[in-house]
């Protein structure tokens, strides 16, 4: 319980918020407390506590030297705060996040936003000054040369709210499926592009990897997703654990330990000569494929039916070689 409680806010964290909050409020006289609290990611109670603190501060202690703050009736008014009427310059991390983010966007679609990305980048770099050089040391390689055409077509479909037909390839099952999809958004995640959309075949929201879309047609049909289509929380990556998942325990010998880095694993235990991992999956077929290619350097410890599937499929493949 206590372990999961967030650390109490430090005085400097709070000061940072106040120094941004004051200019923001000065330029939005009369804004309601709920909107202001939401913008700063705090409760209304916390906002009011921040305002009562600001109210006690000033460049001197005479009444006309103190900042004035009033939030009676849920509307906020802040004045007499000229000294901090502008926010503090961007810090290194703040500048770097926005510049790297803008460059990633420009890479995706230099023209899609009517040049706004380039204009924003130029203004930002000018305002930030030398701090911006830190951003040159952080780069995002979106490996998307192969999917540029697909991205472009899907951008158009999204903008015009059109349904698309995709031929979608699933290597783990070695199969190609045909689906109609109402696009919700395009997400670049972990270096890959995904189409999130309402899949009419599955009757659910699905993520489609763009490099696995073999064929794509924009249909002359309205593609507004149904109301029950909601964006997935992608905080954990594209992988989503399900209630019917099987947990498979695999022992990885040298030459196969890359699997522990490459796939999301539930647990990992390192010993001198091997790594034992637990993988959670709704579909054991891809795992059986993986184990065949590992050629004995990956051993299924549990469950037994997955181990049997590896052995019997390897034996039946060997039969074709007359050996």
């Amino acid at each position: 319980m206590s372990a999961s409680r967030p650390a109490p806010e430090t005085a400097t964290d709070r000061l940072t918020r106040l120094l941004t909050m004051v200019p923001w409020l000065v330029n939005r006289q009369g804004i309601d407390t709920a909107s202001a609290a939401a913008e700063f990611g705090v409760s209304v109670q916390q906002l009011e506590s921040d305002l009562s603190l600001i109210f006690l501060c000033g460049y001197g202690q005479m009444p006309d030297e103190l900042i004035e703050a009033d939030w009676e009736g849920g509307r906020v008014f802040v004045s007499n705060a000229d000294a901090i009427a502008k926010p503090l310059r961007l810090g290194v991390d703040e500048a770097v996040t926005l510049i790297v983010g803008l460059r990633a966007l420009r890479h995706v679609s230099a023209v899609a936003y009517g040049g706004a990305v380039d204009r924003a980048l130029a203004k930002l770099e000018a305002a930030v000054g030398p701090q911006a050089s830190g951003a040159d040391r952080i780069a995002v390689a979106m490996d998307d040369a192969a999917v540029q055409d697909t991205l472009k077509v899907l951008r158009g479909a999204l903008a015009e709210r059109r349904r698309v037909h995709v031929s979608y390839f699933v290597p783990g099952r070695d199969e190609q499926t045909e689906r109609d999809v109402d696009p919700i958004r395009l997400v670049g995640l972990d270096g890959r592009w995904y189409l999130e959309g309402w899949c009419h075949r599955a009757g659910d929201t699905r993520l489609f990897r763009l490099d696995r879309i073999v064929d794509l047609t924009v249909l002359e049909v309205d593609g507004t997703p149904p109301e029950q289509a909601v964006e997935r929380d992608l905080a954990g990556g594209s992988f989503r654990a399900g209630p019917d998942d099987v947990v498979v325990t695999v022992r990885l010998l040298p030459g196969a330990t890359w699997v522990a880095d490459y796939y999301p694993v539930e647990s990992r235990e390192d010993t001198n000569d091997a790594v034992t991992v637990q993988l959670r999956t709704a579909d054991t077929e891809w795992l059986v494929r993986l184990l065949r290619r590992l050629g004995g350097r990956g051993i299924v410890l549990d469950p037994p039916d997955v181990a049997s599937a590896v052995r019997s499929s390897a034996l039946s493949a060997l039969a074709a070689y007359d050996v």
Binding site: L53, V96, A120, R289
Partner: protein, 324 residues
């Protein structure tokens, strides 16, 4: 509460003043200092506060003001150094800045990214949230070493860390001069000069074990001016095929990915097709073909056939005890 109040008052006093203030003047202007029991207690408090404000990036300047008999330091924050310059962003520019900020929404830098956006919007212009079509690049920073390495890269601080190579049981200590940080295929890589090996190296952040220790001052080395962050990671894999294509037999309806890249496809009968495949490395192709099991049979070259058979035998033998 008292400390935040004290720091805010200090910032206000030092920003408002036209000339730099001595410690005595500061003590009388900030009520939380006036109530300090002794001069020493005040000075200790003030020194700490000064350092903390500088940590936050607040440009608190020390100036020597020559009085008649002794030099005494005095302090001030200049508005021109402190304040974010006026930037007139259009609503569509703020909208893309909002997207840029969301790039980091699931990363350890989510806080600074959101804070930066609030600062840029402080002047009162709201971003146009509606006009954007949903294209969202996302970055994640799941590697525990990310924050420490990012700080070292941005500030040019040499560091030491333990690094575990994929096939090595033991981690080894490395001392490096960080050059750049690159996100590629969802993973973060550090480009750096490895002092021990006297060579440029690429480190995967997920393989850094434990703490990252600074071993020098910020800016104590120079990043080569021609260093381009993204190329080093990419240069590591480059297949060069210069031999006859492999021949594989594929069951009908199977091997979708192989068919897509086959140089040619011949239909043997209703059940099988014959594919010519270009490949770079025999072992890599053998890995891939073994994955298909009974649906794909290697025909040529012989070393490919042998490599596939070896994998299948290995997989069967490793699961010897399993029922079939």
């Amino acid at each position: 509460m008292t400390k935040t109040e004290r720091l805010l008052n200090l910032v206000l006093v030092l920003l408002y003043t036209r000339r730099a203030l001595t410690k005595a003047q500061i003590r009388s202007a900030v009520p939380q200092y006036s109530s300090a029991p002794t001069v020493e207690a005040f000075e200790r408090m003030f020194e700490r506060d000064k350092d903390e404000l500088r940590e936050l990036g607040i440009p608190l300047m020390t100036e020597d003001i020559g009085l008649a008999f002794d030099e005494e330091p005095a302090y001030q924050i200049h508005q021109r150094d402190y304040a974010l310059p006026d930037i007139a962003f259009e609503t569509d520019e703020l909208a893309v800045l909002g997207l840029a900020s969301r790039t980091w929404a699931q990363a350890s830098l989510a806080g600074p990214a959101a804070q930066a956006l609030r600062k840029l919007q402080a002047s009162g212009v709201e971003r146009d949230r509606e006009s954007l079509i949903g294209i969202e690049p996302r970055l994640r920073t799941v590697e525990p070493a990310f924050d420490a390495i990012k700080d070292a890269v941005v500030r040019s601080v040499p560091v030491r860390f333990d690094y575990r190579r994929p096939e090595a049981a033991e981690a080894t200590a490395r001392e490096v001069e960080p050059w750049s940080l690159v996100s590629s295929a969802g993973r973060w890589y550090l480009n750096a000069w490895d002092r021990g090996r006297q060579a440029a190296r690429v480190f995967r952040l997920s393989r850094i074990v434990g703490e990252v220790h600074p071993i020098g001052k910020p800016g104590s080395y120079a990043v080569p001016p021609d260093h381009v962050p993204r190329t080093m990671v990419r240069a590591q894999s480059a297949p060069v095929p210069d031999h006859a294509p492999a021949i594989v037999r594929v069951r009908s309806g199977a091997g979708v990915a192989l068919r897509r890249r086959a140089r040619s496809i011949g239909e043997v009968d209703d059940a099988w097709s014959l594919l010519d495949l270009d490949y770079g490395d025999v072992e890599e192709l053998a890995d891939e073909l073994s994955g298909y099991g009974p649906d794909v049979i290697a025909e040529q070259p012989t070393e490919l056939v042998d490599a596939v058979i070896a994998r299948l035998r290995g997989a069967a033998a490793a699961h010897e005890g399993a029922a079939t």
